[in-house]
Symmetry: D2
Subunit: 346 residues, 4 copies
């Protein structure tokens, strides 16, 4: 029975609370939240758990085996570091940290102490993502030439992260999980409508070694919610539409065969358009799988799939995208100033 | 009765043939096509029209009032120039020319000669585009903060243009038509899967003076066809899905109100989610309107909406996007080489 | 604080448990379930409620003000009668009883005792149903000429009711709620695939006084789930698709105007096809509203909308449909026998 | 080269005109239409065809090999009889005749004379219908337990037929084509909104020998067009949605296995929910196939699939449905009168 403390019972923390408390191999030993009214409610519903205002109480409690950190991103590093230093296994919500420097430090500590450091990339435990992975791994789709994601909706604006850090980790975790390589180059553009320095729309293009291009269209400003990933392969193509209740994943037996043409300068493609198949997608709730995987990783029964190194790679790519995005925003601002100056001078 | 010659009876030329021949104010006086079997068929179906192998016959024919040019892009300039020099009005398929230099020269000639020079941007005569324009012009949507277009399908690869020149003119014409300004800055990325030098996927970001950002996702490699434009306004938002037969245009009474917050560092948005309305979209075939507009422009009854200056602006923006795209492709190639060298050196 | 006992914690009972226990004006005083393991779980989660194996304990408990009956249909009558006789208010799951005779008896007792007798037709508290009612009541749709419902899915087969008694109450409650009249005539056909005597597909046609026809297509055998009601009005038409997450209710500004034609034998209709509007549908969970309405009805603060008379009318219509259905099944069986005899005789 | 005369150039006749004139083995020798302005236009476009006001001219013309009759239903019989008597092959639009008596007479004459008598049930040449047939014939779906069709839209009201005779032939032809048997029993209900005696909404239930039930929901009063057929099989189920451009046919690997249960009174079904496959549906225009099949049937190269016997069976089932529908309408009218009398008497 692993004794776990949950730090933070916000939007996602509530889900962790439910799932942690129903895993038979886990004892929810402590819950931390800064809000008094939340703590009072927790005390009623979870009489056997210690309820704390401050995570330091968890750090000091020698009974706690593991900490699950679901607080704002800015506090991830200090909490996780304190937990690891106190000999506790740690799971952190995604994104792992606000910088790769912090993430690297956590990875080093966990390795030095021989502790489990996991990042909760729940998406990878989603049955549709597992299906996409199997389709790629089995060669069913052939060589993957593009990954195209549209992840747009109205809100929720978050005060401590921009749209890139909020939405891109989903796609980047799938890309890393599947293609096991960091991008060779990262391009970005976007716009800040609500807050000057914080993009609420971002377009990211990632180029990979093996002739694959990935594009993410991320927005907090769209009236229609879309959660759609298209994977183009040389043999088949697949689309996952997370809002399609009945047929979330579709596999298109369509493709392009390229004929190199010695007589002419250009290659001409042949199109093949075939059947569409929608496999049955079902399975347990992804977060249930995450928590069970955490338990087994701590017990050494499974190799942690989304360990610190994994979380670090995602943060590193986010940093590269953020840097490209800032560069683009500055150039655009500069162009606008120049345009203004030209107009003013005329 | 205006006497018109049609040059080129390819994919789009066939539609022009049908529409030109059924406009009661137009006499289809001549048809040009390089293919013998096409000319034989035309001779049977259009006994009253002259059928030529070469456009020079049209240039020399003093009876022809106007030329409609539906040949490959590379021939647009020379044909149009010859037509204008011979005193004929000219309509050219989009994109107008392969370079802005050529387009500028045609504009200058048409102005000098007092002839009508029109570019066939059929899209602008589509009832859904007119609806979108009305929604923006009337202020119904409020200030437009973004334009997001997805224009993807499988093929048709075209030998003389890449995906940018093939698909972007649709969006650029709507943007110009509506927002009456060229972009302040143009960013692009993409990929060449089938032919080394010719992108078949392109992502374009355009920034406009008035805090608007436009993004185009263009692809010849998608198994699912999508033709979708989203317009985000401060009051309402609109989406045109050209493949939605029943409700192509939807207006979302949803939006974001931004509260500047003196006490805090960040602005917090308020979301409003309301009804969705799908206005009835109907009207004559857009190309019929194009041809009638050409006729009236020639007769001086209407001011040409898609004149040479219009077509030139589109070409100029295409050139800027092409230049940004090439720059991106080179940088990526360079990054890949470096990555390879690093690996090789290790 | 009204003291309520819940009898039966099956599929729907679980929802009632959650909602009853979170209504601040209700004290969940007792819970009844025949299964030991269920009772053990309930004892843990609801330490302040009495947990009984048998509803008779509730009947005998003078502290209980009201009983909520969520047991199989066959037990509704005897439980409700005992409850009323013991002076308790009663809410019964739909369908109210297995026969109108039973339902009439309950209505008479509740009236005699001055107790609240309510039937849980949750559907009527659904915000989409309320929207439809408002559209009809306000005259927006004009005179309603038809009601067309498709309510099909794969299972769940229920041992104690057939597809008619399982699915039709939803539609019948909306029809009664809205049109406040019992049908003049009821026709039915159907089929028994799985069990000889128990239809799993049923087609019901109901004719109403005011030139309205209603048709229900009910099935437990469809691979695709559909929950769709269309309402045809003389001015506008409305469709509620319960599975359309984004736009569940659509109002079509389309209609038919009938021109009586003295010169000709037939009337010719004029079609009008206009915009489609999808109003925002939102509101509290319907069952929460049901339970609050029960509480207020018991306290005399509201007139019970789905009282015993209401439930009785639904049962009466179900009986008429059942009778028509049995008649149709017998005639078909007879036709088949005759066909067989003819073939055998030949 | 078969010399064909087309009688009637209305809505469907225009399509026949286009297809007949482009079949290389057919010479469109004559065209008949009662309207002067139509004949004038035809004379221009089809200079090599004789243009007649009256079909009697065709009957008298010994050069004509075959007549294609696309006139109103009421004239089908007399025209076809005259054609057959004059030794001409005949193809009639569906429904074949207004009564089975007429249809039987035509069948007898065609057999006596050894002439081809074909009914244009174009639907059966639709690639989606052929796919459904193959799925049934190959046993892929298993035993078919139900056929459920929804064929609703707004108009077109037709003066000489009601909604049953207009829309049901599509479904009945598929049912006959596929299941090769007439129904054992036919039930019907409906409503007459626009014209007293002519139903514009009809619900038809057909029972077949082999435990299959078919249901048709036919309407001219629906704001939303639907063209959807569901086929339930013991192994798999299939749905054809004619308005789904991308995936018209879907095959659901879902089903119900019935376990007979000796210990209990009822059978319990097991549900299986699997993948969905949408085969590629493509092929030539169905009407092109119809015309070519007519030509080959006349030449004796193919056995006519939709011959007079086929058309007769469809008419016979329409008559049975019409009779059931009239019976239902009378009973409802009677119930309403009685209700009125009861109310009046009170």
């Amino acid at each position: 029975m692993i004794k776990v403390a949950l730090c933070g019972v916000g939007y996602w923390g509530r889900n962790l609370l439910r799932v942690l408390s129903s895993n038979p191999g886990i004892q929810l030993a402590a819950i931390v939240d800064t809000r008094l009214e939340v703590r009072e409610r927790l005390a009623q519903s979870f009489p056997s758990a210690a309820i704390y205002e401050d995570a330091s109480s968890v750090i000091l409690d020698p009974n706690i085996d593991a900490m699950v950190i679901a607080t704002p991103v800015s506090s991830h590093y200090s909490l996780a570091k304190a937990g690891l230093d106190a000999g506790k296994h740690v799971m952190i919500e995604k994104p792992m940290c606000g910088s790769s420097e912090e993430a690297e430090d956590l990875v080093a500590r966990a390795k030095a102490y021989g502790l489990t450091l996991m990042v909760d990339h729940t998406f990878l435990f989603h049955p549709a993502v597992r299906k996409l992975r199997d389709l790629v791994a089995s060669g069913t789709l052939g060589h993957i030439s593009y990954f195209d994601s549209q992840r747009v909706n109205l809100g929720l604006f978050q005060p401590d992260v921009n749209v890139l850090w909020d939405l891109a980790p989903h796609d980047l975790s799938i890309l890393d999980y599947r293609f096991a390589a960091e991008p060779v180059s990262v391009e970005a553009s976007g716009y800040c409508h609500v807050n000057d320095k914080s993009p609420d729309i971002a377009y990211i293009t990632l180029h990979y070694e093996n002739s694959m291009v990935a594009h993410l269209n991320l927005s907090w400003m769209s009236p229609v919610k879309m959660r759609r990933i298209a994977l183009g392969g040389s043999k088949q193509m697949a689309v996952w539409d997370d809002l399609n209740r009945d047929e979330p994943v579709k596999i298109y037996d369509s493709g392009i065969t390229i004929h190199s043409n010695q007589d002419r300068e250009i290659n001409l493609p042949n199109y093949r358009i075939g059947a569409v198949t929608s496999p049955r997608i079902s399975g347990p709730e992804p977060l249930t799988e995450v928590v069970e995987h955490l338990r087994r990783s701590i017990l050494g029964q499974e190799r942690c799939q989304t360990d610190g190194d994994f979380g670090l790679r995602i943060v590193r790519t986010l940093e590269r995208a953020q840097s490209a995005l800032e560069c683009s925003l500055q150039q655009v601002a500069c162009s606008k100033r120049n345009t203004f100056n030209i107009i003013a001078a005329e």
